[in-house]
Amino acid sequence: MSSLSTNQPTPSRFSRLWNSNMGYSFRRNPVAIVSLAIFLIIAIASTLAPVLAPFDPYDPAQIDIMNSEYPPMWVDGADPQFFLGTDDQGRDLWSTILYGTRLSLLIGLCAVALQAFLGISIGLVAGYVGGRIDSLLMRLADIQLSFSTLMVAIIFLAVTQAMFGSETFNQYAIYFLIAVIGVAEWPQYARTVRATVLAEKKKEYIDSARVLGFGPIRIMVRHILPNSLSPIFVISTVQVANAIISEASLSFLGLGMPPSQPSLGSLISSGFDYIFSGSWWITAIPGVVLVVLVLVINLLGDWMRDVLNPKLYKG
């Protein structure tokens, strides 16, 4: 296919990616470009929260209850000090959103990393080994999937909250959230990975590796896994969006991040009580951020699915 006679220098990884089909379709797709741009802005801004935020919402010394419920800049009665206004406790909403988004993203990514680790390992083993182990693991996945994520999470978090008491729970809330969202959704990965493994396992390069005497772990990790990455990428974007939503829902229900360390969900929740007293911004602005964040991730996922076209990815 290629002109091998000419000895071109090996292109760098980036230019290879840029000139690949994926890079080409990205350049041609304005939705993908805008989505990625917005996602990067949100991600970078929230990562740099300690630098960008004028206040530290975690520091009680910087919070003055007298400052509570200032509206955003463009509304009458705003305090120019607080760009997006303040919440019910007098925290600067802009700073709180930056920190909250950081928390939401962190929980989302870590939870997905945990899901991916569990799901990919289980999916690889189930698909490659097959037989009884496959049946056992997939029935486990079915059972896990037959409970909704939120239900499992609510029960688990409510029980832990009752067991450890509110204070301890709040201290370790972030780990509990990651664990519960991570564990609840692994079957998504496991099923997708298993399906790809079954397809890849039939190809001759796997037979070739077996004839060369490579062990099952080497074949799974070095040969099958790299060829199963496309569906894993696609499912990961969707799962990050889902995990952020789950976290927000749990926090909204009071089972997630405590009000002293608000994520986007707990911020929305805390503002909810004031929505009828006219302080709509405490709920609305973090809500918009959450919706935009989840939307761009999903749009990126859609685009990626079209490009990588993993026919196997269908739940």
């Binding site: 296919m1 290629s2 091998l4 001759e204 390069y205 070739s208 004839v211 060369l212 005497g213």
Partner: protein, 344 residues
């Protein structure tokens, strides 16, 4: 050939090899409603039935047959990718079909396989260098980086792959080049025995010649023994020293290449040979077979070829012919040949 095989042990020996694939796997699948009653029955594909043959050192044994005759299954059984349902496989005097993966390891250096589809037999996410280095490292952990690189470069040169291509990925190569790389990969461990499963049937005519030449060269230079699976009889005539004809997983005829092409005995072999389109004679003149290959599920009693054979009689429908040695050294499994019915 026969004198040579008396002096030395055969390199590969298949003894009554059998392979069945169960179609109904779980318990529930075996339960069927027949005539208003629930019965348990298990259907299975009889892919290989009682195949016995030897491969001597230095020869190129070709297995020919049409699709579904079990030739690829035989290759996979020998390579240890499948385990036989019955029978034994001996390599260099030792039984190998019941060995664990670890016990097979020393054999993996001696026995390699080349696959049909060069588009699928290389890992698409590995560069050529990685693909070739991996087996060398795995089988020679004592080698240092430099030695591994030298070994890979040497093999690449010997198969006509430019070592400067090594940082490229398989999709950047054409089918013929990929097949060369696949052959190089098999040769990196210095094997003595190569199982080739239709290695050229996915390639273009002009490229087929290149790859066949490469395999012949490797045979001369490295003293390789080939177990060559193909459906292309002109390749067999050119490449093979002996030929085994399979039909529905059963051995029909086994003979030296020249004997088989000059004097085919089994009615199926005759039909097969006559069906090859010849370049320079006028019009088709092949032996027309009735019907088509039946499915290998629950094979009929008697000779597997009876449904299409013009010479089949009551005996052929009842008992399965056994492979018998003929005067010219070939082995034929056919009642009609045994009784001399075909000569009349």
């Amino acid at each position: 050939m026969s004198t040579a095989s008396q002096q030395t042990k055969p390199l590969l020996e298949l003894k009554g090899l059998e392979k069945r694939f169960d179609l109904d796997k779980g318990f529930l699948e075996t339960v069927k409603l027949r005539g208003g009653r629930l019965t348990r029955e298990r259907r299975s594909v009889h892919a290989v039935n009682n195949v016995s043959l030897n491969v001597d050192r230095g020869e190129a044994l070709c297995i020919v047959g049409e699709s579904g005759c079990g030739k690829s299954t035989v290759a996979r059984l020998v390579a240890g990718l499948l385990s036989p349902t019955g029978g034994e496989i001996h390599y260099d005097g030792d039984r190998i079909d019941d060995r664990s993966r670890a016990a097979m390891m020393p054999l993996r250096k001696k026995m390699q396989m080349i696959f049909q589809n060069p588009y699928a037999s290389l890992n698409p996410r590995m560069t050529i260098q990685q693909a070739l280095e991996e087996p060398v490292r795995h089988h020679n952990p004592q080698m240092n980086r430099g030695e591994v690189r030298d070994k890979v470069a040497e093999v690449m040169r010997s198969v006509g792959v430019d070592p400067s291509w090594s940082s490229r990925y398989p999709h950047e190569f054409s089918g013929g080049q990929r097949q060369r790389i696949a052959i190089a990969r098999a040769l990196t461990v210095d094997p003595e025995f190569i199982i080739a499963d239709e290695p050229i049937s996915a390639l273009d005519v002009s490229i087929q010649a290149q790859v066949l030449n490469l395999m012949l060269e490797a045979k001369d230079e490295r003293g390789l023994t080939y177990f060559f699976i193909t459906h292309d009889l002109s390749v067999v005539e050119h490449f093979g020293t002996r030929v085994a004809v399979l039909y529905l997983g059963t051995l029909c005829e086994l003979a030296d290449t020249r004997t088989l092409f000059e004097n085919p005995k089994h009615p199926y072999t005759k039909a097969l040979l006559s069906a090859v389109p010849k370049l320079k004679d006028e019009g088709p003149s092949h032996i027309r077979l009735q019907g088509e290959i039946p499915t290998p599920i629950n094979l009929p009693q008697g000779c597997p070829f009876q449904t299409r054979c013009a010479f089949a009689n009551a005996r052929c429908r009842e008992s399965r012919p056994r492979p018998l040695l003929q005067t010219d050294g070939s082995t034929v499994a056919c009642h009609a040949v045994e009784e001399g019915r075909l000569d009349g």
